[in-house]
Symmetry: C2
């Protein structure tokens, strides 16, 4: 598995995750946007993910539910501002357990020599929101998510 | 007309507009979210505004078209992440003439003593995008918009 590069600069309001997948970008895009594949990679390995809603097109909505072994439930939701096949997804993101803190996620896929560079920029409403997300383990969960996404993409090849 | 306070702090990725309207917040919310009222206040006075799409509810889309006296057309669009009546609107914003630069707007309304404080925070994907919006005249247009919105609200009373 390749490393995930995580960029958290002081005084900025965003977090950037970069990862290179050994696959063409149409496969990466499929893994990210097909609702039946999302439970196989979204979030950390010790939580299950249910896709409640996922209409992955411009103007569509999404809502995912995480469950842990004790039955605790964590729901996340947002809208797709833009979905451009194999290139770009722009969506909002909110943890329903902490309503009123909304992030804007921009995901781009670039292909070269059969490999795809995935860049996800998560933009927070304040530096405090951004730092809170880092402290809650977002960046640690990200490596898990990227590793799981690699596995899903490998199976699609 | 009351002044609009505009906050643009160095090295931040957002612009904040604050304005106090002499009206209860349900009237301010109506003026902002009713499609037939939008052409009366949205944007600077020297442009006309056509509402192409406006489904002002959580998960809905919006698209507005500005036209100048020479027939030039400027379209803007986004999705509503959240619309909570009289309290809060969270939406994405993109100028279609410069695609790929998306902002997240959070608008809150708070009422006290019959007056409503409107706070709009526009969050950009980079400091450069934010500074570009300021240079393109966004903050000057904002006073016009707030003055026009005051006039619409006055007529609703």
């Amino acid at each position: 598995m390749s490393e995930t590069e995580i960029i958290v600069e002081p005084n900025r309001q965003d977090i950037i995750h970069k990862h290179t997948f050994d696959a063409p970008r149409d496969l990466v895009f499929r893994a990210i946007t097909e609702p039946e594949l999302v439970p196989q990679w979204w979030g950390p390995r010790d939580l299950s993910t249910e896709v409640d809603v996922m209409d992955a097109r411009t103007g569509g909505r999404w809502r995912f539910i995480n469950r842990d072994a004790d039955g605790n439930v964590y729901a996340f939701s947002g809208v797709f501002h833009e979905v451009t096949a194999s290139e770009r997804v722009v969506q909002t993101f909110e943890f329903e357990g902490m309503p009123g803190h909304v992030a804007l996620e921009t995901l781009t896929l670039e292909e070269a020599d059969g490999k795809t560079t995935y860049v996800a920029r998560t933009l927070f409403q304040s530096v405090e929101d951004r730092d809170g997300a880092v402290q809650s383990g977002m960046t640690e969960g990200a490596q898990d998510t990227m590793d799981r996404l690699s596995e899903v993409i490998e199976k699609l090849r």
